[in-house]
């Protein structure tokens, strides 16, 4: 493959966004990654497939996010080879992705951290569960070994171990702080506790049912993930989604964004000592999910999307209720924003806490909300718009301070913009069906669904098998990119500020662990 072969149109990959595909050898894998890196691409995700049943090869895939498209590199490892060139020197996020890929499929990057990431001893180290010769329901006894955290030594340095069970109602993860006094010298994360083998579960699932599993990859981003799955399947089957269905999905996605931002703003208020904020924002969120219940039959929209459209259309009465709610929320959030902004004690906690500088954010490939609070102007709804965002025109929210305060402001700005989008969607809801049939998918196709969820972009890479079944399905949450950045943002902060800083990122555990 040469430079030119990256250009032809026939490399187009079925997707809801502009996506291209190149089959490369090991040398080209590195060269392409380098060139795309130099063009401003970030690595979105890595995954692998076991195709030994077909042609004796394993395959490793890299999805790179360019400013206006997704580029997928595919590299076949033939002849029993299980080693591929590492990408960690170009994209820091590759390191953990490579560790996960080894744990699940036994494909090893030729450089980088060799410690396990998702495997905590729950399956033997010579068993690679995503391989096709491992049974779908096979399970193993636990043989856990101590995890070698990076030690920090020096006068008065000690470690604080937190998790996986935390003091509050949050997801499981482990944080190892090396501290002097209460000042954090180093934070090291250990994740994977919520790993549920979702990729294995997808294997052989009927394509028409996969959206239900996709919706449960990360419960707070259920619309984003189920849309990504449906978008991939619809692209593969060349299903044209009716404009009304697309508008209703966007309404659901923006409501998911608003609900999560409301919840986070309440939590951030509380973590900074203003319980008033929690009471107010959690009440607003409750009102929003109750209207979801009335309109969509669910408080959280786990099964609202399905391939071909949505399950429930919206009647005139619900449209009016939602428009009223948009007005109410706009007013309430503006009032609360003024209170947050004017509250000296709160701003004192927010400002300069958990600083992620724009330079660091760019160098480490920060994306999504966290990126937008540190000067990284990426939003897939704007950069790679898919219907209905091609006509909706979301506003670009951007801050460059990179502290907790900036992440709070991004949330406020995004709520106001999402409310505007909801109003626009409700006022101009296209006529037509909200659900169309999806034909049987051709086998051996790869399709992508990329959706900008409330945290950032989520990706589903879906491969099809005969009989309308899933051959493989890889899900990616933007938390992979942003988790390592908390380790940087914590340096020099005090331990008691960790809950506040962590909340300001509010990254996914389940969405990351898979």
């Amino acid at each position: 493959m040469t430079d030119d072969s990256l250009k032809p149109e026939d490399l187009r990959l079925p997707a809801n966004v502009v996506a291209r595909h190149a089959v490369v050898d090991a040398e080209q894998w590195l060269a392409c990654a380098q060139r795309l890196h130099d063009q401003g691409a970030g690595l979105l995700t890595l995954w692998g497939t076991d195709d030994r049943d077909r042609d004796g090869a394993f395959r490793v895939f890299a999805a790179l996010l360019l400013p206006d498209q997704v580029m997928v590199l595919e590299h076949a490892l033939a002849g029993g080879n299980t080693v591929y060139p590492a990408l960690g020197h170009l994209f820091p996020v590759a390191d953990r992705l490579q560790r996960a890929l080894y744990d699940l499929l036994g494909l090893r990057a030729d450089a980088g951290d060799g410690r396990p990431w998702l495997r905590h001893g729950g399956w033997p180290e010579n068993i690679f569960p995503l391989r096709r010769d491992v049974g779908a329901t096979q399970s193993y006894a636990i043989h856990a070994k101590p995890y070698p955290f990076v030690p920090v030594s020096g006068d008065g340095v000690h470690e604080i171990a937190v998790g996986p069970v935390h003091a509050g109602t949050i997801e499981p993860g482990h944080f190892r702080f090396s501290v002097v006094g209460e000042k954090v010298l180093r934070l090291e994360e250990r994740l994977g506790y919520a790993h549920k083998g979702i990729a294995k579960r997808f294997d052989r699932l009927p394509l028409q049912e996969g959206h239900r599993l996709a919706a449960r990859i990360c419960g707070d981003s259920t619309v984003a993930f189920s849309w990504a799955y449906c978008a991939a399947l619809e692209a593969i089957t060349e299903t044209e989604l009716p404009r009304r269905a697309a508008a209703l999905r966007a309404l659901a996605l923006e409501r998911e964004r608003i609900a999560n931002h409301l919840g986070d703003l309440g939590g951030l208020g509380n973590d900074a000592g203003l319980a008033f904020g929690l009471v107010q924002f959690s009440s607003l969120k409750e009102q929003l999910v109750r209207l979801n219940q009335d309109a969509f039959g669910q408080r959280y929209l786990f099964d609202y999307l399905l391939p071909g459209g949505v399950v429930i259309d919206l009647g005139a009465r619900m449209i009016r209720s939602m428009l009223d709610e948009v007005a109410m929320l706009g007013q309430a959030v503006s009032t609360l924003r003024a209170i947050f902004d004017d509250h000296a004690g709160m701003q004192d906690r927010f400002r300069d806490a958990g600083l992620l500088s724009p330079e660091l954010a760019r160098a480490h490939g920060a994306i999504g909300l966290v990126g937008r609070a540190s000067g990284v102007a990426r939003d897939a709804r704007i950069d790679l718009p898919w219907p209905p965002y091609d006509v909706l025109q979301p506003g670009r929210v951007l801050r460059s301070e990179g502290d907790v305060a900036a992440r709070v402001q991004v949330r406020f700005d995004e709520i106001m913009d999402s409310l505007r989008l909801c109003r626009s969607l409700l006022q101009t809801l296209p006529e037509g069906p909200s659900l169309v049939p999806v034909p049987v998918a051709p086998p051996d196709r790869l399709g992508l669904g990329l959706i900008e969820g409330w945290r950032g972009p989520v990706l589903i890479a879906l491969g099809t098998a005969p009989d309308n079944r899933v051959r493989h399905c890889h899900a990616h949450d933007s938390s992979w990119q942003n988790w390592p950045l908390i380790e940087y943002a914590m340096i020099g902060n005090i331990v008691p500020d960790f809950p506040l800083i962590n909340k300001s990122f509010n990254l996914a555990y389940s969405g990351h662990d898979g």
Binding site: L118, H120, G122, W123, I127, P129, V134, A136, T137, Q138, S139, Y140, I142, A144, P164, V165, A167, G168, T169, I170, E171, P172, G192, Y193, A194, H195, K196, G197, I198, K200, R201, R212, L213, R216, I217, C218, G219, D220, T222, G263, F276, V279, S282, S283, K285, E286, V289, R290, R299, Y300, F302, T335, L336, A338, I339, D342, A508, Y509, S510, D513
Partner: protein
Amino acid sequence: MFTILARIRRTGILSEPLPTSEVRDAPLEKLQRDLQSVFGRALRIRHVDAGSCNGCELEIHALSNPYYNLEGSGIAFVASPRHADVLLVTGPVSVNMEEALKRTYEAMPDPKWVLAVGDCSTCTGVFGVNYATRGRVADVIPVDAVINGCPPTPLALLRGLLQITGHAQPKVSPGAVQADS
């Protein structure tokens, strides 16, 4: 300060009866009264996410909002299992959380109850059993009651808390940790 007070005044008290469409047998106040009659004001809950998708957590969080006002009824979440009467477990018990779940259970003082919350924890949900999940919570630690739903509504969670008091006896010191049913 004035704007905060004005907003509080304008918001008023939201902790009031839930929509009756969600609850046919008893309004929220009765649930809360019943909970109090059994536990007084002392029920303490410890939550463990044993591999949930985070959906159940969103609804457990909702219990603390002013509408459900769980703390107002004397029930509170605590930071340590050593302070807890009830263990609320979500998720299809990932193998990576199995040990932590068992240790949390063992750390609780008697009498103690375990409430499995959400379809994953009660019947493995969409995830099933595989190399990474053990499935039902009852296959890992003894379970006293379950609350189904994906995710269960806050009201279903409140009802579940009542069920464990009305129908289940507390277990005392199970020597070995094994399946309940």
